[in-house]
């Protein structure tokens, strides 16, 4: 069995950690543009992880996934969201439920839950270092925290896209050899989500004049 050099294993671990840290960064980012840039960084990290897996295990087909992931997640999706944000002329990310330090501590608790759960399941990846799956699950849960606690449509969309990145990383960890067509189908799902969120953002902004979802909570007679 091919054993990757320790330095590549360490690099893969660090890149996986970057994915989780970017999710935490998106949670505490005060500006929507910062969230989009962090999503770009997170997507770049996921792409780099795909390349590292391809390089260390000789999986040539996976490079197609890396290229598609790079084009879509690092270039197209952020560009589309930024253009929508430009039309809305608003940049402050709203959060009325909790202050940032409390949100981060809640996210830390749920990420610990993810780590402990995966550790208890004794799942081990054949292609990535041991902590990668725990990190992916922790990032997924933190992305849920973004969606729950942030109260504007851009942040919630970025939370959803970030969740998709974390799920991609988890699938890369547990099912690296999944057929390429299925991996590409996941990316197509992302495209559909971008279109759906784009329409929602436009409609919501046109009706309420803001990107905040708070007006949706008001009772109407």
């Amino acid at each position: 069995m091919f054993v990757p050099p320790p330095i590549l294993t360490s690099t893969a671990e660090v890149v996986a950690v970057v994915v989780l840290l970017a999710t935490f960064g998106m949670l505490r980012a005060p500006l929507m543009t910062s969230q989009i840039n962090l999503y770009r960084l997170q997507s770049l990290a996921v792409t780099a992880l795909v390349v590292v897996v391809g390089a260390t295990h000789g999986l040539v087909g996976i490079y197609i996934l890396a290229v598609a992931s790079f084009v879509l997640k690092v270039i197209v999706v952020p560009a589309v969201i930024l253009s929508l944000l430009g039309e809305a002329d608003s940049n402050i990310a709203h959060s009325n439920v909790l202050k940032v330090p409390s949100m981060v501590l809640v996210a830390l608790v749920v990420s610990l839950f993810g780590f402990i759960t995966i550790d208890a399941l004794h799942l081990r990846s054949a292609t990535l270092p041991a902590p990668a799956l725990g990190i992916a699950v922790a990032a997924t849960l933190v992305a849920f925290v973004i969606i729950v606690f942030r109260s504007d449509v851009i942040s919630q969309a970025m939370g959803f896209f970030s969740l998709e990145n974390a799920v991609s990383m988890a699938s890369l960890t547990v099912a690296t050899a999944v057929p390429l067509v299925m991996e590409l189908a996941f990316l197509f799902d992302l495209l559909v989500a971008v279109v759906a969120f784009g329409m929602l953002m436009r409609v919501h902004h046109r009706r309420s004049g803001t990107l905040s979802t708070d007006p949706l909570d008001r009772l109407r007679g």
Binding site: I7, E13, V14, L21, R28, V100, V104, L108, P129, I135
Partner: protein, 261 residues
């Protein structure tokens, strides 16, 4: 000395200075092997001595009853208490990696392999400690070091009432503390290369320019941060501290639950 102040007002800067001089005995400054008194205290011992110095300076700041010095002392103690959990988790990482809490052991573990430097737990702990150093030395984004506006001051406000030799000891001590924290970051976490491994005088002396070069490199990074970011509002500082705390906790979790690297 002000009429209202006790002798502590004059003694505290000297005692704090003495504390700062003790810490280099416990950490790898020029040598990779421990000094004769190197095992006198572990990394927590060094932290306690630094905290004692900070406490003494804060106490001296409250002696005259000046509102600004008291404000600075109060803030320094408040944010110091918030930073402590981060420091503890960084120490846990050191303990988990080396099975001891001796800075020399950590330095040797990092020196022994590049893979150790790139291990995620180690990288996260190093970044968390970097943020602690930023906060502890009163640098941007926590504090404007050269600012003159009292309302935003933290560390700088504590020494507003001092002058003459006492003030000189306080500022000199502050510089020594900064250099100690730089040395811990460089020689324990990031780049313990260039340390002397033998007891020969020439070897030890050659470690001095290496340390100065590494410290200057780190100083450049701090200067870049100082000139690239703005100061955080006082009530935003906990956000910065909690970010460092998250990094330190994740370092422990990734090491402990993710399997030792």
């Amino acid at each position: 000395m002000p009429d209202e102040a006790s002798p502590l007002f004059i003694l505290a800067p000297l005692l704090a200075f003495a504390c700062y001089l003790v810490v280099p005995l416990l950490i790898p400054v020029l040598t990779s092997f421990p000094l004769p008194l190197g095992y006198m205290g572990d990394i927590l011992g060094g932290g306690i001595i630094l905290s004692t110095a900070g406490f003494l300076v804060a106490l001296a700041g409250t002696e005259t009853g000046s509102p600004y010095a008291q404000l600075g002392s109060s803030r320094a103690m408040t944010f110091g208490a918030l930073i402590e959990p981060t420091v503890l988790f960084v120490v846990f990482v050191v303990g988990l990696i080396t099975s001891t809490d001796l800075p020399y052991a950590m330095s040797q573990a990092v020196h022994s392999s590049l893979g150790e430097v790139l291990a995620p737990a180690h990288v996260l702990a190093a970044i968390a400690f970097f943020m602690v150093v930023l906060a502890d030395t009163g640098r941007i984004p926590i504090e404007t070091h050269s600012g003159t506006l009292e309302f935003g001051m933290i560390d700088e406000a504590r020494v507003l009432e001092h002058s003459g030799p006492a003030y000189a000891f306080l500022t000199w001590g502050s510089s020594i503390k900064q250099f100690i924290l730089y040395t811990i970051l460089i020689d324990v976490f990031v780049a313990p290369w260039g340390l002397s491994s033998s007891r020969e005088l020439g070897s030890v002396l050659s470690a001095i320019p290496a340390l100065l070069a590494k410290a200057m490199g780190l100083g450049v990074i701090f200067a870049l941060i100082d000139n690239s970011f703005s100061k955080l509002r006082l009530f935003k500082i906990p956000e910065f501290i909690v970010a460092a705390f998250v990094l330190a906790v994740l370092a422990v979790v990734i090491f402990y639950l993710g399997g030792a690297s």
